[in-house]
């Protein structure tokens, strides 16, 4: 067990190292560098100014030296600072992350709360009316782009009913209700697609679990269907769901550009798009590595949840 955890941790560190090398050199391969951004256009022809700045910023050093310098700072949490705003990347992250994090957790939460029961009912009533109705409804949810849902929700709940704010994000420390209200509409817009995907996963796994002999033996013991579904069939049916939930948390944390834009919330996604359009190399590098770290961390967590859910994995069997 400890060995397993140690191995996973080691793998995570190795992955992060590889990601940081790759992103660093890929960003490095982009045409142009900080010199092009920092020096006004009219001075670009003045070689002396350009050279002086490049020397100051260390841009003339070989790439691996620059990577080494970056890595040395990065492991202490210093991801460098924006060449344009002079704002440290870590400060940017600490401002933007809460928004994205909250949006992600709410979206995944909404999706799961509805998807799991719907998926179970669908599997239990496979082929019957309720299954077809649920599957049809979810198919619809799956095929509408999230920004269309977002626009509709704004129109209905913010414009017509005026229950919830159309845009903006309030800090939790300012107002709890304001904070929650602000996040509901964007989170629901994001949740709809995930809900459909999650529910289909649960349904498919559940249908195959319900064919298992141990489900029949539980029935032969006189346990109720509800008990069998919840206490015997759900856990073995949730492994693919856990994987996909992990991946989706990762991609939501990596930014949900369209929805953040629509609801005027400055999350990670907006920050990354801004950095790319302004060719703010340090910020691009920092955010990319951060997003990669989140992915690696979530995948690791998923592995550990696997172990908790299926005891056979603990002893190296599947």
């Amino acid at each position: 067990m400890q060995k397993l955890i140690a191995a996973r941790l080691l793998r995570a560190v190795a992955t992060l190292f590889a990601v940081s090398v790759l992103t660093f050199f890929m960003v490095d391969l982009l045409p142009g560098d900080l010199g092009d951004i920092l020096i006004p256009a009219e001075q670009q022809n003045d070689r002396a100014i350009v050279e002086q700045l490049r020397e100051e910023l260390g841009l003339n050093d070989p790439a691996f030296v620059r990577y080494g310098n970056w890595l040395k700072d990065a492991v202490t949490g210093d991801l460098g600072e924006s060449a344009i705003t002079r704002q440290p990347v870590s400060t940017l992250l600490s401002q933007r992350l809460p928004i994205t994090l909250q949006l992600t957790l709410f979206a995944i939460g909404f999706a799961l709360i509805f998807a799991v029961p719907l998926g179970i009912i669908s599997a239990y009533r496979q082929g019957r009316f309720s299954d077809r109705a649920i599957s049809g409804g979810l198919q619809l949810g799956l095929s509408i782009p999230n920004f269309v849902v977002g626009v509709f929700l704004i129109w209905f709940f913010a414009e017509r009913l005026g229950w919830l704010p159309a845009t903006g994000w309030t800090r939790l420390t300012e107002s709890v209700s304001g904070n929650v209200k602000g996040v509901i509409l964007p989170a629901v817009s994001l949740a709809l697609v995930d809900m459909a995907v999650f529910s289909r996963l649960i349904r498919a796994d559940m249908i195959s679990t319900l064919q298992e002999n141990y489900v029949l033996s539980a029935k032969a013991k006189g346990m109720s269907d509800r008990f069998i579904l919840a206490r015997h069939a759900l856990r073995p049916s949730s492994l693919s769901l856990i994987t996909v939930v992990g991946l989706n948390i990762g991609s939501l944390l990596g930014g949900t550009v369209v929805i953040e834009q629509l609801f005027a919330m400055g999350g990670i996604g907006r920050a990354l798009i801004d950095a790319i359009t302004k060719r703010d190399y340090v910020v691009i590098q920092g955010l990319t590595v951060f997003i990669a770290t989140v992915y690696v961390f979530i995948n690791m967590t998923v592995d550990f949840i696997y172990i908790a859910v299926d005891p056979r994995i603990r002893s190296g069997r599947t």
């Binding site: 298992e212 002999n213 141990y214 029949l216 033996s217 539980a218 029935k219 032969a220 013991k221 006189g222 346990m223 109720s224 008990f227 206490r231 015997h232 856990r235 073995p236 859910v309 299926d310 005891p311 056979r312 002893s315 069997r317």
Partner: protein
Amino acid sequence: MPDSATAQGLRNEPLLVVEGLKTHFKLPLGMVKAVDGVDLTVDRGRTIGIVGESGSGKTVLARTIMRLNLGANVFTEGSVRYAGVDLLDVPNKKMREYWGAEMSMVFQDPMTSLNPVVRIGRQITEHLRHHLGLSKEEAKETALALLKEVRIPEAEARLSAYPHQLSGGMRQRVCIAIAIACGPRLLFADEPTTALDVTVQHQIMNVLAREQRERDMGMVLVTHDLGVVAGRTDDIAVMYAGKIVERASTKALFDDVKHPYTEALLRSIPRTSHLSHTRLAAIVGRPPDLINPPAGCSFSPRCAYAQDICFSEEPVLQEASPNHEFSCHFPVGSEPNREAFEKNVAKAMPQAVSIRRHEESLAQLGGEI
């Protein structure tokens, strides 16, 4: 039915009376007649063996009696009276009061019939608590006693183990403990030893037999192996193509086989008394198509004694002696049977020739020691 009448029924009737039971599955290709008119009686405290090849309908029969055939494509006919109640009329929800409490089943494969992600302890206690209303502590005590009863070492530790941490034999013991936990009066054991090592098979059969005796349960033992049931059943019913083709007390059956299929099953058991390299007397052919069963006797295409009448006229169950029934036009041991066999050998009918070769091979190698 009022309670007094039920009690009356209990005293006068056998534990289980199955009459004219049919179970048909509707498939796109047609109706599969898995069980096709079976009568069966199980008395309190007695063990009946149901024997037949894979596909003879014996598992479906057991599951139909317990009402465990799932699916909308199953059609059942006849009656299954358990303690005076026709189970086929009992609504689904109500069946839960029977399952586990009145009747239970030990399944074929202990590797898959325990939930891999649920601890052994909960799998034994959950229906104890449900049926008998035991507290968590009481249920745990009972589970512990049950595990000891089925001879599981370190029972206490096993309660918190997961199924994959136990060997196949241990898992089947756990399954037996689960099945007997709530004190059912009728126990089905569906090929309980087929998935296990030969050495373990014997132990598991001993556990089952002891529990059956001590708890005075009626037991239905389903198996394809006549060797398994030999010393352990009071009666045996041999099934072929969804029908019972021979039924007798165990002793009568082994002493005086009547049906060619029973004979073939017995002959196909390899014996240590045979010299090595003795031909194994496998039954020629495959179990019949249950959608379009052969005309006449369903065993006729594989029977070494089959004559014209066997392909056109279905034999009915007839008595050889009280409590010994069979359905065959040319019962084993009779003069017509011997004549039919010689005719078929002369016609070079493969199944007859194969038996002749088996006999010759026994004779050549010195026969039985």
